[in-house]
Amino acid sequence: MTGFEYTILIPLIPLAIFLITGLLGMKWKPAVSGILGTAGMGTSFLLSVITAISYFFGGHGEAGFSPIIPANITWLKLTETLHIKMGVLLDPISVMMLVVITTVSFMVHIYSLGYMKGEKGFARFYAFLSLFSFSMLGLVLATNIFQMYIFWELVGVSSFLLIGFYYEKPSAVAASKKAFIVTRFADLGFLIGILILSFITGTFDFDQLTNPQASVFGGAASLGFMGISAMTWAMVLIFIGGAGKSAMFPLHIWLPDAMEGPTPVSALIHAATMVVAGVFLVARMFPVFHFQAPDALEVVAWVGGFTSLFAAVIAITQFDIKRVLAFSTLSQLGYMMLALGVSGYGGEEGLGYMASMFHLFTHAMFKALLFLGAGSIIHAVHSNYMYDMGGLRKYMPITHITFLIACLTIAGVPPLSGFFSKDEILVAAFNHNKILFGIEYLVAGLTAFYMFRLYFNVFWGKDRHYHHTPHESPLTMSIPLMFLAVASVFAGFLPFSELVTSDAKPFETEMHLMIAVPSVLIGLVGIFFAWLLYKKESRVPDAIAAKFGILYKATYNKFYFDEIYLFVTKKIIFNYISRPVAWFDRHIIDGFMVGIGLVTEKTSYLIKGMQSGQLQHYAFAFVAGTLALVLSILYFL
């Protein structure tokens, strides 16, 4: 008995609600599904908060917070040692994730009561939301890497279903397909990584894999392939899986398109929870990365760093507000990956790890807020494009204030939460690698700039021709906004370094003014330029865009990665592989089989004449045969 048995209910409640709503939802009034889903998620939320309080504040021993496994059953026995189990693992990061997921999910459930009101698939929407919440909770609570993979796939499919929620819209269908296939491709890497890892260690269980004194890696050093050690291969492949879900460059292409889904979905799945699964995966496997495959960790750092810059640059040029936010998400996820990549293990060495988790937490709050705010705006003006918006601050005061708070948070203005978490990341990067540190400084400025470009465009400037006067959203939508705004403001004061650290032992952090002050300044510079350019409508931004010409166009078109994706799928796979295979099968292989049949048939036609049924033919053949035989015998003898 660990006293935490009730935690198993946290994922099971949404599962039950998914099944009930999925089977019966069509027969009910829509509101019933919504309220049932929200109530269930609220219960999970409360349970998660209770879990977090009793876990973090129930005291801990010398060795820090120890992992607790309240439940674990064997699901499938593969070999003597490799068993897939299903269970619940509570440790600092999983408990933190519980809080993040249930908080955002609960808020999104409430928000959707207003946002999705009157939609045709209301019950279906809530069923899918519950399915997603179940899968995501199962993922973070996994006790072993295979359980994680199982829920990983389930999360992927819930994402597919929700992106394609408006299934009559071809663009939504295409986007959902793209998201699924790109992440599936990455999951193949994850799967092969698991195969290698489990072969080396003979276990899937995290408590054996991530134990720093692990003995399971005994024979690992001698194995290798193409001059790279087997462990590095395994961890890089597993990271590819994480990179797919977390939309790291170059697997990022699905995320912007995923914005086709309803906006609350974007907030929940494609901003706050599912996309951080990759970061969570790296954090979960961090001791393995650190001790067994430091080279793979270096890859994580650079991929993260590059993605954060790449995405921030694209974000500047986009006009669809949800896509700006999507690229912003990419950029922030890059931050988190980078922080893990530069981290060490244990105590202050593990600052990057702590910072990454910290940023994951704060980012979930302020990015969910941004998306829900964007949803509120879209709800009011019925467009996604910022050139259809302007001057909205007068009409939508709550949305305006909460959105502004979120923008300030992401720009890293003290004392809002984003400032603290970003500062820790910068310090960790500074200690590890100066180039990455430089990139992150630049990104901090870019972030402030594109966020305030969005803010000024939407809330300031001139009014547009609206279909009707924009109005503030109903309470169901504004309450989650206010809640998340409060969370974004105060989350920075959580003592993360005492709760969520690489070795589960608390350590002290201090403010590094040398790094913090310039980073704030750079953020303010970004805001200042955005103010200069976009406060009032002017031609300056267009002029600047024109000046950059091709570069601007390339950025606006996201550096043509979508075209590359289309080229690979439509041209190469479809036209150059699949089509020849199909042709080959029909004409060569089947042709050969048919050919055998034809030859048999033709031959039988040829020789059928001999069986004419006329006695004189047979007599002739008989005599001729005898003669030929006699002659040949005579000749050869």
């Binding site: 026995k77 796939e153 491709f185 193949l188 092969i192 048919v594």
Partner: protein, 501 residues
């Protein structure tokens, strides 16, 4: 009477019953009753088997019985089952049951239709309970021959040509197989004594390695043709495309499994040395079929063709895993047989139901069916997810067991082919989502489709049975996997004695 014999007797009695019916309503009711009894029997058999194992019965085969049938050639009616056969019988019972309800509205010569269908099922059940090679072969032929009539008479499109192609290719397989089985029989007493057809008897002795080398390819390819082994798979697309719904279901769902089952129960189990020597050739062939079938499916436009190629890919994985010759991979192979049997039967049932409404199977002519026939569309989507290996459905369990098992080999060759085979999970996702996106989602393409009606009760019964089975295995696979693994022990033990790995 031995419970196993009931599995042959009940279908035969059902056929007799159908003979006495007057119209198609009577015929289908009798068939439904007969096959429901069969389903209950199968469930009882599974429970009894699990009970017996739990009680500590360790015999390799349970409920064995042996009657001499033709003395001078020592042919017996010898029966007995282990966990694998029990699982396959369960699969067959489910698929036949669903198949009867999926052909509820066959009115043309319906008595003859149901008789042929159940005759086919009789052959399959008989095959799985047999321990005597000759009887096994007899049942095997009994299952293949009604197929010709079923496709040729009740089929669609170029049905005569397809029926001919399918039957001739499978008969070609049978011819090879017969040579192989005779080879086994005449080598079954290398040290003198009486020759035998009994699998368990032959397994006790060692067939001379030279004889194995000669006869193994005959037996393996003979069975392999029915299991859609590349490059002998081309009967499958044409045959399936022309076959009526229930026949496609039974054929892809069950009949193709006879191939995989025979491959390990006869060819590999009885000729382990040759199997080890030649495994690499067939591993290469099946690796090709896994990937090739999946790529082939991407380009197709006919729903049945897509599914036929998908079956080539999935059944390729069955033989692929069998050839890995360790307990985990072979367990995966059998799980994959069951999983593929259920989900492909579901697919064909759905395709038949959709075709019955839209009168087309061309995916470019359909669209937005989710809106008009939501039940069928949702079930189709579930089938699709099962096919692309979504956790919680049976395909995932099978595939993961196969991949983990295959990866236990130390050498690069096995590693590389495993990774190539694993890449099919991505390609599968591509073609499944393409179909789902085209026919189910998006706007309704053909205005005539707006008037379609959703599934009727018998269609619901048929598909829900299959969906529940797929989900049950996907959610709680442990009992099934344990049952199979325990039964695999003697087979794996025989194979690995000579295994250099």
């Amino acid at each position: 009477m031995n419970i196993l014999s009931l599995f042959v007797v009940v279908p035969v009695l059902t056929i007799v019953g159908i003979l006495f019916t007057k119209d198609f309503k009577g015929a289908r009711v009798v068939s439904a009753i007969g096959m429901s009894i069969q389903l209950v029997l199968a469930a009882a058999l599974i429970l009894m088997y699990l009970g017996a194992r739990k009680a500590g019965v360790t015999d390799e085969m349970l409920w064995t019985a042996d009657y001499t049938w033709f003395k001078s050639l020592n042919i017996h009616y010898a029966i007995g089952v282990d966990g694998i056969a029990v699982a396959m019988i369960g699969l067959t019972a489910i698929v036949v049951f669903a198949g009867i309800f999926a052909s509820w509205e066959v009115e043309y010569l319906s008595r003859e239709f149901f008789i042929s269908l159940i005759l086919l099922a009789t052959g399959v059940f008989g095959f799985f309970i047999s321990l005597d090679l000759f009887t096994m072969f007899l049942f095997y032929e009994l299952a293949v021959i009604p197929m010709y009539l079923l496709i040729g008479v009740w089929g669609s499109g170029p049905k005569e040509a397809s029926a001919m192609k399918l039957t001739l290719m499978l008969m070609g397989g049978s011819a090879l197989l017969m040579v192989g089985l005779f080879g086994l029989y005449y080598n079954s007493a290398p040290d003198g004594g009486s020759l035998t057809w009994n699998i368990l008897e032959i397994a006790k002795i060692k067939i001379p390695v030279e004889a194995q080398r000669f006869f193994f390819p005959f037996t393996f390819i003979g069975f392999g043709i029915l299991g859609a082994l590349f490059p002998f798979h081309t009967w499958s697309p044409d045959g399936h495309a022309s076959a009526p719904t229930a026949v496609s279901m039974l054929h892809a769902g069950v009949l193709m499994k006879l191939g995989g089952y025979g491959c390990f129960r006869v060819a590999m189990f009885l000729m382990p040395e040759a199997a080890n020597e030649m495994a690499w050739i067939f591993i290469i062939l099946t690796t090709i079929s896994v990937v090739y079938g999946a790529f082939g499916a991407i380009w197709q436009k006919d729903l049945k063709f897509i599914n036929a190629y998908s079956s080539v890919s999935h059944c390729g994985l069955v033989i692929f895993a069998l050839l890995m010759m360790n307990q985990t991979a072979m367990d995966g192979a059998i799980l994959q047989m069951i999983s593929h049997g259920l989900m492909t039967a579901l697919f064909f049932a759905l395709i038949g139901m959709i075709y019955g409404r839209t009168h087309t199977r061309n995916i470019t002519e359909m669209g937005g069916l989710m809106k008009v026939i939501p039940f069928l569309a949702v079930v189709y989507m579930i089938a699709g997810f099962a096919s692309l290996g979504l956790p919680g459905l049976s395909g995932f369990v099978a595939e993961m067991t196969v991949f983990v098992g295959s990866f236990q080999h130390q050498d690069t060759f096995h590693r590389v082919v495993t990774i190539i085979a694993a890449s099919s999970i991505v390609i599968t996702a591509v073609y499944i989502l393409r179909v789902v996106g085209m026919i189910l989602l998006g706007p309704v393409k053909d205005p005539h489709h707006l008037e379609l009606t959703d599934a009727k009760w018998f269609e619901r019964l048929s598909t829900i049975t299959l969906v529940l089975s797929v989900a049950a295995i996907g959610i709680a696979p442990l009992w099934l996997s344990d049952m199979i693994q325990a039964s695999l022990e003697p087979i794996v033990a025989k194979l690995t004695v000579f295994n250099p790995f």
